[in-house]
């Protein structure tokens, strides 16, 4: 990256340059999609989208500290678009593993937000054990033919590309026979079916791949090295996740100043119930503890010490969401029997009860999370894996 690095710039010089750009170009909140696209194009053009990236890829080769200066100036102005070198899962994965041709073609529109993307990881028989995927990609001259089924895919219907893991070698152990692709979604071999969730919503889809075609240049990393590419992608994804979960769906007015559970109990006439008060106290306490842990983690990271705390956030959030839903239900009592727009409080409690599983199962179940904490943070030995070192075609599945 040394060759690509822009001439060193002082913090003050950098700050002035960002401010000048924002003063000249930023005209306030974006009103519609067209304005949004136009703005992002300007940010990319002016090399503010990915300031940590090398100059040959629209960046400035800035240090993390200097990139934070840029981010702060954008945040102060209320302007989006920068910091994508931290947050843009798709672009970062592509930069790390993509072929020259694919990077040239897709990086600019990805940074401009013009490419719809989705994830093609999980399968019906590969959930927690993601390396057990059975979707296959077979090479045929200059492209791959893809067959299999993917699940839990958001935005599949509108996506232009899916980040796909598929098996390309069945004769080696499971982690070693996987490859990583940018699969074009808009083709006959790709069929998207919405999945109805327990919340009665449909955010996710099943994706059926039948002789779908993937050009050779859309392979990321080496053939059979997809598991490594996936780890990079997952790390970006996790760093963005856990920053919060959805609140109540009803949008029923909630006091901005008061703790929602206290407001709810007050409204339900349950705030004088000592048992309810104890439960409310526990849940609000858990939320506050998680916020304190997060703050301490950030402080420790700033001091350069790696923090065990970062890995705990998702597990903590699962517990908070389940507990909060339980206490909401307790406060409502028989009121929680009901649902629908006329009963927004019940709707909230019931929705949150079910949607808590989004966090405790999605992105790695609580149980997998506990394995990760136990093994990577506490250093406990791994459980023996009976399928680790045998050819994948001999692995039992069901």
């Amino acid at each position: 990256m040394a060759d690509d690095a822009a001439a060193p710039v002082t913090d003050d010089g950098l700050r002035e340059e960002v401010r000048a750009f924002l003063d000249n170009q930023w005209t306030g909140p974006l009103q519609d999609e067209a304005e949004r696209k136009a703005w992002f194009a300007k940010v990319v053009e002016a090399r503010w989208a990915v300031p940590r990236w090398p100059t040959i890829w629209m960046g400035r080769g800035l240090s993390d500290a200097q990139a934070r200066i840029v981010e702060r100036e954008f945040a102060t102005a209320g302007a989006p678009g920068t910091g994508q070198d931290r947050t843009n899962l798709w672009a970062n994965t592509l930069l790390a593993g993509g072929t020259q041709a694919l990077k040239e073609r897709l990086l600019p529109p990805l940074l401009r937000g013009e490419v719809g993307m989705c994830l093609l990881y999980s399968e019906p028989s590969a959930g927690s054990d993601l390396a057990g995927i059975r979707t296959r990609a077979d090479r045929q001259s200059d492209h791959f033919i893809v067959n299999g089924q993917k699940v839990w895919t958001s935005y599949a219907a509108t996506a232009d590309y899916g980040m796909l893991i598929a098996r390309t070698d069945w004769d080696v152990p499971k982690h070693r026979g996987i490859s990583f692709f940018f699969l074009p979604m808009k083709q006959p071999g790709v069929e998207v079916r919405p999945l109805r969730q327990i919340t009665n919503e449909s955010q996710f889809n099943e994706v059926f791949l039948t002789d779908a075609i993937c050009p050779e240049e859309n392979l990321l990393g080496e053939l059979g090295q997809g598991w490594g590419v996936l780890q990079t992608a997952l790390a970006y994804e996790r760093s963005v996740m856990g920053e919060g979960a959805r609140g109540p769906r009803s949008g029923a007015a909630e006091s901005k100043n008061e703790e929602p559970l206290i407001a709810l109990a007050r409204e339900a006439g349950a705030l004088s119930d000592p048992l309810i008060r104890q439960e409310i106290s526990k849940v609000i306490g858990l939320k506050k503890l998680n916020a304190l842990n997060t703050a301490r983690a950030k402080a420790e990271m700033k001091q350069g010490t790696s923090s065990a705390l970062m890995s705990l956030g998702k597990l903590a959030m699962s517990r908070i969401l389940h507990e909060e839903a339980r206490v909401r239900t307790m406060i409502l009592g028989a009121g929680s029997l009901l649902e629908g727009p006329d009963f927004p409080r019940a709707e909230d409690a019931n929705f949150l009860t079910l949607n808590a599983y989004f966090t405790s199962i999605g992105g790695g179940t609580d149980q997998i999370q506990r394995n990760i904490i136990g093994e990577r943070v506490l250093g406990l030995p791994k459980e023996p894996e009976v399928d680790r070192d045998i050819p994948f075609r001999d692995v039992r599945s069901g």
Binding site: Q278, I284, L309, G374, G379, L380
Partner: protein
């Protein structure tokens, strides 16, 4: 010492940790807890010399002039080492109460000797109900010429059996006040109570016309008591966080080395998942204790809420960590010789001192309501 830099605080915490690693080993703790006094006078002197006993005492009275943040840091180490000492009673609760009351004569008379460890003081704040509220005070004060006399009973008085001076909350004709009583004066009967936590000392104190000096204050006396209790609760929170962390450490170490069915038991998810959950408890307790200390030190508007949260969160966490640690160890931790039960005993005691978790949870909700209203 007021407002140490982060680096100075760390250095200070390290020298505390070194002293305790040296002088409060498990062997020391087991020896000391069997003695009647329940503390090691030599270690006590060393702690005073290091500045730990007079930590929060104003330099004008011979102390280090530190605050809640330093107290919390020291008690993390004390908790980890299961320190047997009247530090909480004398150096935090009694010293904190005296400073909160602000009686110059009493401060001059008592604080320098408390700071150098030559005098041990404690506070008698509750009666046999043990609820640390004004309503539970069961000592009455009456005028006797220019002096005062106390009658009634105080209980759950920490380290009263080794104390030279008792600071006693009592109901006087004009309301609740705090009195200074010589622990060995006529009319004072200190009865040690057997404690589940053998590293702790607790006594009941009966007053029968005991001579007492009223400690003057310009504020409602119970406000001063609450201020001292807040500091003591922060110290306890630190002790719970530090103790919990130590227990988790030795439990995880054991899970890595104990083999069953040909594997380290820590490789089984049944054990691994418990350990992961305990790490969350331990880290959350640490965050809560340090946050409470910081908010109290800054006199932040949410300091009371932060202390209440730390009080119940750290108490619950320490008990859970110790209880689960015994289960994770299996039979070895069911023996007297294993240290896990010593920590569980400490955790269960800490969870009751100065108010139990449910009490603090209720007060936490009250604080949140008040913050809104």
């Amino acid at each position: 010492m007021n407002s140490l830099t982060a680096e100075e605080l760390l250095t200070f915490q390290h020298s505390t940790a070194r002293l305790l690693a040296d002088r409060s080993t498990e062997v020391d703790v087991r020896r000391t807890m069997e003695t009647p006094s329940g503390y090691d006078a030599v270690l006590w002197k060393a702690m005073a010399d290091l500045g730990l006993v007079g930590l929060i005492i104003d330099p004008a009275y011979g102390g280090a002039g530190a605050g809640p943040v330093e107290v919390e840091a020291v008690f993390e180490e004390a908790g980890a080492a299961l320190l047997c000492s009247p530090l909480l009673s004398s150096g935090v609760l009694a010293a904190g109460l005296l400073q909160a009351l602000g009686d110059e004569a009493a401060n001059l008379r008592l604080l320098p000797a408390i700071a150098n460890g030559s005098l041990i003081a404690t506070a008698a704040l509750t009666g046999p109900r043990g609820s640390w509220t004004p309503g539970a005070v069961a000592v009455r004060a009456r005028a006797d010429g220019d002096a005062c006399r106390l009658d009634g009973r105080a209980s759950f008085v920490t380290h009263a059996q080794v104390a030279d001076v008792l600071l006693v909350a009592a109901k006087a004709a004009d309301g609740l006040a705090v009195f200074e009583v010589e622990a060995r004066a006529a009319g004072v009967a200190v009865t040690p109570l057997p404690t589940f936590d053998h590293t702790l000392r607790i006594a009941e104190v009966a007053f029968d016309g005991a001579p007492a000096r009223r400690i003057s204050t310009s504020r409602p006396a119970w406000d001063a008591v609450e201020e001292a209790l807040s500091l003591a609760r922060v110290a306890l929170a630190g002790e719970q966080a530090g103790g919990g962390r130590r227990v988790l450490e030795f439990t995880v170490d054991y899970a890595k080395t104990r083999l069953q069915f040909g594997r380290a038991i820590g490789s089984y998810q049944a054990i691994k998942h418990m350990a992961a959950d305990l790490l969350l408890e331990s880290e959350s307790a640490t965050s809560a204790a340090r946050h409470a200390a910081a908010q109290l030190a800054a006199s932040a508007s949410d300091a009371k809420a932060a202390v209440e949260l730390a009080a119940f969160a750290c108490a619950d966490a320490f008990v859970k960590i110790c209880a689960d640690a015994i289960q994770m160890h299996g039979g070895i931790a069911f023996t007297w010789n294993h240290p896990a039960h010593l920590y569980l005993r400490r955790a269960r005691s800490d969870a009751q001192l100065f108010g139990a978790a449910a009490f603090h949870r209720e007060r936490y909700v009250c604080e949140l309501e008040a913050a809104h209203g």
